[in-house]
């Protein structure tokens, strides 16, 4: 094990990355990319970052792969036209040289990073008592750099608003995505009935346990989103119409509660987004539960796309 395994992993990963770039057919490239994402999760485990590995596997490999596969399937007709637009050999050579320079620059930076590396790990460890949580990454996300997490929720929401704004005017308020149908007696529908209940439990468990072990709101939300997507793709349920009030409430629940708790920190704690030590863990969980609802619904809807069917009245 050890270095040999890692070098083998790197070779595989880079091979898949090259395949993603040079493959002729887009569908094949996307399949390569999804596999790359999953292998990358292994790399993250070797880098002692299990939270990130979970996120990479779920979002980077899983969700992004699904999104791009769907798009590649829909865009198959444009493949032929694209072949005519490929830049000439000289252009590609110059691009390769310049990209290689970028790689060289980054590689040089890696090799010449200072040793011992500056780190905030001791500071994070020293201040962990402020939230009584054992998972340092959760501490950073929810306490030390809570502003970034809050902003990021807003980014997610705005991306969704952007996606929705692409709908034709007459279909506004309707259901996102096409109506999926699957054979009700088939294997897919069976899986879609079988997997979601344990999937949801696992998702919530990952959140619950993230206080002291690897896990977190994003990973949990992604699993819940995946379960929801499974149900929708098997045709067991339809996407909700975008004008439904309850849906909109679910989409802002996370950031709104986060904002309110943050403002509450002004009175109970000593600053915006501060938590009083006695209630820190409870407050963080109180934020995280609406947050996984929002994340799950947002990610699912981002995957589904803009409204494509009129709202049934």
């Amino acid at each position: 094990m050890g270095l040999g395994f890692e070098i083998g992993l790197v070779v595989l990963v880079l091979g898949l990355a090259t395949w993603t770039i040079v493959a002729r057919e887009t569908f094949a490239a996307v399949v390569g990319f999804a596999t790359y994402g999953l292998l990358l999760a292994l790399v993250w485990v070797r880098l002692s970052a299990p939270d990130v590995a979970l996120t990479e596997a779920a979002i980077g490999g899983g969700l992004t792969g699904t999104l791009l596969l769907g798009a590649a399937a829909r865009l198959r007709a444009t493949e032929a036209a694209a072949a005519a637009e490929r830049p000439g050999a000289q252009l590609r050579l110059v691009a390769a040289v310049l990209s290689a320079t970028v790689t060289a620059g980054l590689a040089a930076a890696v090799l010449f990073l200072p040793d011992p590396a500056p780190t905030l790990a001791p500071a994070a460890a020293a201040n962990a008592a402020a939230t009584t949580l054992g998972n340092p990454v959760t501490n950073v996300l929810m306490a030390f750099r809570a502003m970034d997490t809050l902003l990021e929720k807003v980014v997610l929401l705005l991306a969704l608003v952007g996606v929705w704004s692409l709908a034709p005017d007459r279909l506004w308020g309707g259901h996102p995505g096409p109506r999926h149908e699957a054979d009700p007696q088939g294997a897919f529908a069976f899986l879609a009935r079988l997997l979601p209940p344990p999937g949801i439990v696992i998702g919530i468990y990952i959140l619950w346990v993230s206080a002291d072990h690897p896990g977190g709101a994003f990973q949990s939300g992604t699993i819940l989103a995946a379960m929801w997507m499974l149900v929708m793709m098997a045709g067991l349920a339809d996407t909700p119409p975008v004008s439904r009030r309850l849906l909109r409430l679910a989409l802002i629940a996370g950031p709104l509660v986060f904002l309110l708790v943050g403002l509450g920190g002004l009175w109970l704690g000593d600053a915006f987004l501060a938590y009083p030590v006695a209630y820190a863990k409870a407050l963080i969980l109180a934020i995280e539960f609406p947050m996984i609802l929002t994340i799950a619904v947002t990610l699912g809807l981002l995957l589904a796309g803009p409204p494509e069917r009129e709202r049934e009245r």
Binding site: E6, I59, G60, T64, L75, A95, A125, L156
Partner: protein, 113 residues
């Protein structure tokens, strides 16, 4: 050569490949794919920095790890927005290209507005 260095070089190559793909491949979907590759390379680089910062009983510096998680979610929303735009463009024009002189293109100075 330590773990971190090996993966650091891997990150650099992935970033270079992503850059190359983003610039040369004319199809927007392949550009989005290359952007994701480039992004994953940069995140991996951040992970290497985190691994080198292992201290105080942690396997890695938790701050960069948290930043990577945030970054990954942002990258996914970017991909989702880009894909939705691309699909809508395809729906509206029947072709998926970024070339400005394509038939339904923008900034022509045709005198019929």
């Amino acid at each position: 050569m330590s773990t971190a260095t090996v993966f650091g070089l891997c990150a650099a190559v992935a970033a270079g490949l992503g850059t190359y793909g983003l610039i040369t491949n004319p199809q927007p979907l392949r550009k989005i794919l290359a952007f994701n590759l480039l992004g994953s390379g940069v995140f991996l680089f951040f992970g290497v920095v985190a691994r080198r910062g292992a201290a105080a009983g942690f396997g890695g510096d938790p701050v960069p790890q948290a930043l990577v998680i945030t970054g990954m979610v942002v990258a996914f929303s970017a991909t989702a927005l880009a894909v939705a735009l691309l699909l809508r463009l395809f729906q509206a024009t029947g072709s998926a290209t970024l070339r400005p002189d394509a038939p339904a293109s923008a900034d022509s100075n045709r005198t019929d507005a």
